[in-house]
Symmetry: C2
Subunit: 324 residues, 2 copies
């Protein structure tokens, strides 16, 4: 099969590309060709086709059509904080270019089964006033333009699937760690910064309190889930969208896991300067009823120690993901 | 206030324009200027500003920006059957042009309160496998591209409202009768055709059985609701979307009301050739929990006799809507 990864130059995209290149198959089907799209592509694994440029440009879309993927993992996006600062840019990338990509993939199909699209959606579709437990019936009230555009694309991908034009699978990503220590445009960047700081034995001040509770996943486990999503049997759920199973951990629980893993006194290194706006969006995630995505074979990181260990391993670290 | 009606040359748009022109106010606020947008505008009431052209064109958007509406009732759309036959056209009109309009209205604001947008959404956002009662928690699973694009716009209008750029109010329209006896691109056209046929004493064959149950509203009552929607106090519901209260009636109940109203033997005139695809979408609407929209002052037609009487009255019939 021919596989395309968008946003392949990004944090999660690099993990997905490395995993696909290492595995050389998707759900038992051999990868005949692997292509990567992004505005900037660094050094790629050997044999990967580079499609450098703007996803929404006619040139890149033509090259995608010529490549005619059987499977696309669509990760390219303007992240939450940057989208909120520039909603017009978010519309162009997170909505318009995404729909252009869906149209291109549907049209480029070579008469076989509808191309698979694994769409990196977000838990930001849920909203900031969540019930005691988030279930498949929780109303979706995105509190940021990023989540609104992602939710719109979920709805439209489900419609492509209903029409038999694409085989869509939207996975709602939680806070993914540990992003590189650089400005990312994500309001949730502090979650990754916490891991890097304590691994390096450095002090850090968090914009949330120690009891602030979030949904966590390592980038490696996230990449594994996205690839698994391409071939998992999805049944007849018309919405075609699932949250990833998550570890629900307080900041303090993560600090303790980091302290044990790296032999540091985390509680001494971590300060708190809670901001109510950040706590409202990233600090009050209730339990998630994730029985349906678990039954589909999607997985969390296991426990807090495994989370921080896997989160800080490089994308191209060899070996079985579970043993990291 | 300055009021803009899109789709003003269409069936419901004409009723809205006639009502606004007759009332000369919206929720007690005097209408200083009234503008109408559509590809084709017929004869307009005196004083209405005509903005003829494609809604998504730069020219029409510039003219809308220059008009700088305080309130827009957005009805322009490619209807359900036509959208399903041409999803690319639906994307262009029902999604892209609608978002361009929202952007234009938000930007054209003159520094006062955010412009009000009453958005004509649709019960086609709900889906064809409905629970025993449709409630505010019923998951939204649009079974047609038309409903998917409308739902995406609901989500995006709610986000404009959250950001304080627009004051959005999406109202989900049920089957509106009686559309003119002409091809409309709507799968539900048979509902209107039933009214016209029996009013004229003509035979008709329906694509659903006598027990098929739908949600009904007259165009005049729909227009009243859309105008009411512009000023009703909406509270802090972040979704900003409500179904209109409806009469839930079987085909046979409507046939009986028409028989009594027009002195015909409806059951003798009406034949049935049920199509399972049409029944699935338009024949199995369960009860609707419409307590929230009723509390907002939105209204149904009262009863089946009032529905058919009001549905067959012309848009410009004078007098109190309730006494028709």
């Amino acid at each position: 099969m021919k596989v395309l990864v968008t946003g392949a130059g990004g944090f999660i995209g690099a993990h997905v590309l490395a995993l696909l290149h290492r595995q050389r198959h998707v759900g038992g089907r051999r990868i005949a060709a692997l292509a990567a799209v992004d505005q900037r592509l660094g050094a790629l694994p050997a044999g990967v086709v580079a499609l450098q440029g703007d996803l929404g440009s006619d040139e890149v879309l033509s090259r995608i059509a010529a490549f005619a993927p059987d499977c696309c993992l669509h990760l390219a996006a303007v992240p939450g904080g940057a989208a909120e600062a520039d909603p017009a840019l978010s519309r162009r990338v997170n909505l318009d270019a995404t729909l252009d990509l869906f149209d291109t993939l549907a049209t480029a199909g070579t008469g076989g089964p509808a191309p698979v699209v694994v769409y990196a959606s977000t838990i930001a579709v849920y909203g900031s006033h969540l019930p005691q437990t988030v279930t498949p019936h929780t109303p979706l009230r995105p509190p940021l333009v990023y989540g609104a555009h992602k939710l719109a694309c979920e709805v439209l991908l489900a419609d492509f699937s209903r029409r038999g034009r694409l085989d869509g699978r939207a996975l709602r990503l939680p806070g993914i760690v540990a992003r590189p220590r650089a400005p990312s445009g994500l309001v949730s960047a502090f979650m990754s910064e916490l891991l890097h700081a304590l691994a390096a034995g450095e002090p850090i001040t968090l914009p949330v309190g120690p009891e602030a509770t979030a949904w966590w996943m390592s980038a490696r486990r996230c990449a594994w889930n996205l690839v698994h999503g391409a071939t998992m049997p999805v049944g007849d759920d018309p919405a075609r969208a699932w949250p990833l199973p998550v570890l629900r951990l307080s900041m303090d629980e993560v600090v303790q896991a980091l302290s044990a893993e790296f032999g540091v006194d985390g509680r001494a290194l971590v300060g708190h300067a809670p901001r109510s706006d950040v706590e409202a969006v990233f600090g009050r995630y209730p339990p998630l009823d994730d029985r349906i995505p678990r039954a589909l074979g999607l997985r969390d990181d296991g426990d807090a120690r495994a989370l921080v260990r896997r989160a800080l391993a490089p994308a191209d670290a060899p070996g079985d993901d579970d043993n990291l």
